[in-house]
């Protein structure tokens, strides 16, 4: 494997991990506040659709992004009302959101654009373009570091940089601010927050709203950054992978960066080597496709150990029964 290949694989891994990272951080806020979210997939899908739809109509990806966030937030609101206000089962609410998004996106797409659920393809300014960082072209000729800067670090969509910046930001919010302290507390023991005179409901809604925003970014990146429009079911299970990455990361931001990178990397490797020729036998492409999942299981079994979720996670906060 030469240097250029490594750069290419890493570059691909970065693009592939970005939606996972955004969704994973989204889930992190929600679950840290004690609301389990298996509806990440649905929110991303809805965001992908609404961002692509609005970007297609207006030709402006930023308006698309706003719409994406709006779409995802609408589903987040449903999740909140069901699982916080009415103390419903968080998992069921998440399942419902996934179905809802899967149906509604196509229904609306068909109604607005008549393309069987697709949105028209975005062209030129309608998408988030790749940003060339300053001096990327001049530095490209510097050995190793220059290549890394120019080909790996530079040249991504703005949302990629946002996603990476969100990791330290999330860490900082969680562990250095009042809001973060309360958020973590409410996910561990809501009664402690309640008896301190802080509203459990408000905190959890805030967390869910942030989750909605981040899923919005993830969806918008899929539809208006990585591709040029919406195709039905285009999230293709990434919400579930993000959830797995979140558990993998034991609900910690830096670890989330690592775990989503791992998923991105494994997928990039499988993409690059569709059938691995290992001398005697050739590993069939099906197994290269499944490789990221197999390796995840192995890593999980071998190195990660028990992941303990936020203690109050999954349970609605009920004072009086």
């Amino acid at each position: 494997m030469d240097f250029a290949t490594i750069i290419q694989i890493l570059d691909s891994a970065i693009r592939l991990m970005t939606p996972l990272l955004l969704a994973c951080l989204a889930g992190l806020y929600s679950e840290r506040s004690g609301v389990f979210d298996i509806g990440l997939e649905g929110k991303m899908l809805m965001a992908a659709f609404s961002s692509a739809a609005v970007a297609a109509v207006t030709g402006n990806p930023w308006l698309g992004l706003l719409a994406g966030i709006g779409g995802s937030m609408a589903l987040a609101a449903i999740h909140g009302i069901a699982s916080i206000t009415f103390r419903g089962n968080q998992l069921i609410a998440g399942v419902a959101i996934n179905f809802l998004a899967s149906g509604l996106t196509i229904l609306m797409g068909q109604r607005f654009f008549g393309l069987g659920g697709r949105t028209p393809s975005l062209t030129g300014e309608g998408r988030f373009g790749e940003i060339t960082l300053p001096l990327a072209d001049t530095l490209r000729n510097v050995p190793v570091l220059g290549r890394i800067y120019a080909d790996l670090i530079s040249g991504h969509s703005i949302l990629v940089y946002v996603a990476f910046a969100l990791v330290p930001l999330t860490w900082w919010v969680l562990f250095r601010t009042r809001f973060g302290l309360r958020l973590r507390a409410v996910g561990e023991n809501p009664a402690s927050v309640d008896t301190a005179g802080v509203s459990v409901t408000r905190l959890r809604f805030a967390a869910i709203a942030i989750c909605g925003i981040l899923c919005g970014l993830a969806g918008a990146y899929l539809a208006t950054g990585l591709s040029a429009g919406f195709v039905k079911e285009m999230t293709a299970g990434r919400g579930f992978i993000a959830l797995a990455a979140l558990i993998f990361a034991k609900w910690r931001p830096w670890a989330a960066l690592f775990s989503t990178f791992l998923f991105g990397l494994l997928e990039a490797i499988a993409n690059r080597y569709p059938d691995l020729d290992m001398g005697l036998i050739t590993v069939p492409s099906m197994f290269m496709n499944a490789l990221p999942y197999i390796l995840t299981v192995i890593i999980l079994a071998g190195f990660v150990g028990r992941a303990i979720p936020p203690r109050a996670g999954g349970e609605p906060y009920v004072k009086e029964r």
Binding site: A4, T5, Q8, I9, D11, S12, R15, L16, P19, L115, G116, G117, R118, S121, L222, L226, S227, A228, G229, V231, K232, E233, M234, A236, G237, E267, A268, N271, R272, P274, D275, T282, P284, S285, M286, N289, A290
Partner: protein, 308 residues
Amino acid sequence: DPALIFDLGGKFDKSFNEAAYNGAQRWTEETGGSYKELEMQSEAQREQALRRLAETGANPIVMTGFAFGNTLEEVAPDYPETKFVIIDAVVEQPNVKSIMFAEQEGSFLVGVLAAMASESKTVGFIGGMDVPLIRQFGCGYAQGVKHQEADAKILANMTGTTPAAWNDPVKGGELTKAQISQGADVVYAAAGGTGIGVLQAAADADILSIGVDSNQNHLHPGKVLTSMVKRVDNAVYDAFTAGENLETGAQVLGLAEGGVGYALDDNNKDLITEEMKTRVDEVSQQIQSGEIEVHDYYSDNTCPALSF
């Protein structure tokens, strides 16, 4: 009235269901006739849909997709008065017309074009879900490339192993970029909705791509080298036109029958040079005359030009 049943992908699958739909639309526009159409919702419905349509007197009943083969085998004898048309599978019943497309031949042609258009002599193939049909596409393509350029390199990827592989433009784009980084400068997508991502990524990187099933040249004018068209629309149109007098039996639509081919239109006329056009037409003739024999993947589940 005739009837048309779409397979699970749905009629807007950007692939052959959509082509079938277009054929039926064309027939409606030209004849003013009407037809019934159904989209499959689940595996178990196939039989239900066939029987219900037959009972309501629809004739002929056209269905797209090999997955109907087994069911039709059972249902057809129960409705001897009704004619059935199945696309992509062979069902040996007196009242069934089976239409197969020689995808390998069309793919062979675009393979030749790809090899000629490629400067790096490295070309790519991206399939959707890893099923034999897609391997047939890939195999024909690879043979065409090798025929033209014996030491050309062919990169092949399948998107995945679940139906999600048909609708993952993001992964399609990523696979394209991976192939580009390995030198590919022409990429052929046979991947339904995933292909949209492939064509997009190719256009973004300013390399050439090849569309599939219907003419996709217009998606990125000047960036799509050509499309391997599979004239499912014609097959449906013809079946509808023939109506109840349809001739049954098996039929393979290859280059000779105009069932498959490559698309040439305003969008790609600057990409296909005179030389390329001459060459590809020559190859087409050779295939039709049997001078070139294109290997059929189904015949032995192997491909001489590509390993899966």
